[in-house]
Symmetry: D2
Subunit: 110 residues, 4 copies
């Protein structure tokens, strides 16, 4: 992975950390708590956030110039997911991972 | 998968067909032919096209409203991949799958 | 995708059809119905089935000899998912897709 | 991601690190170096290793009991990929990531 900027390496790490957090939290905490945690709109957003994070990391690892577009979409979905985690409550750790990833992806998309 | 429009079902099929074609062609035809077929820019575009097609299908199956954005990006990458397959030559079947997917994703993104 | 047997082409189709069915059904029908449909064990099995189907298709498209092992695991998870769909009820279409994929993957794994 | 053992957290990290290394190295170093680095058998194994690592991490995050089987397969493919990286040469960093992941997955599969 020669010639990769430090900024891109860091963004891949944030994307994979947010993928882990969103998928892991949805499939354990949310699924087991039920109630508002399995509201379709919230659960779907968690799964969409996990998937776009996985995809954005993949595009950076492919060294595809289109990573700018996947990172832009990733920043939007992560920001939306962070807000929805705040609304649902009891999801602070997940919201924090989403915000860190949104910030890193916003820089990559610029 | 109740309540899914016929247009969305059709777009999922085109995305998965293009994913199959791009990944399968890159990993057999291109890799075995070598030469211009493994030029980094071409091979990378084939892999990026396979990945965005897989992701766009996933977003439609998640029933996420963000599928419009992944489909828009998918249409762009597929159109670019089709042109590059024409440039490389001996890739007509792949170029055709990319064009069909680009057309279908363009409609979904509208 | 030259030199791919008809049996492998058919197995890729069944895997992608089962991926579509399991992910699409979980994220719309199951999530919206709630109750026994979002029991963690059932929902998790649906998501695991979608993922192994996606992965087995990917291994066949990569032309990796390890596809035999992913197909073996896919056949096991699909068979288990079909039974669980029967237990939950109101999931016949999904159970049928799982059984077709299990049958196809069992042949590929041999 | 409550109730996840330290051993599983550690294995997810190794899987994602090996996914990053194999995909990133294949798509930059191998693709740009060409020659033996794009031999179909080697390149295909790198891509298969990246995919099974991504899938094994996913199964652990799903909290699926089938993660034992994906981790067993992951350990086998990673061990094979490490050996092949040694054979090709100039791939030490990648071989090391594969060996660390194989070791961690072997424990999870037990």
């Amino acid at each position: 992975m020669h010639n990769m900027t430090q900024q891109m390496r860091s963004c891949i790490k944030e994307c994979l950390a947010c993928y882990e957090m969103c998928l892991g939290t949805a499939m354990t905490h949310c699924l087991e708590a039920g109630g508002r945690h399995t509201e379709p709109a919230h659960f779907r957003l968690m799964m969409a956030c996990a998937e776009i994070c996985r995809t954005s990391a993949h595009f950076m690892l492919l060294a595809s110039p289109h990573h700018k577009h996947t990172c832009k979409e990733c920043a939007e979905i992560c920001a939306e997911c962070a807000k929805d985690c705040d609304r649902i409550g009891d999801m602070k750790e997940c919201a924090d991972a989403c915000r860190r990833c949104a910030e890193s992806c916003t820089k990559m998309a610029a």
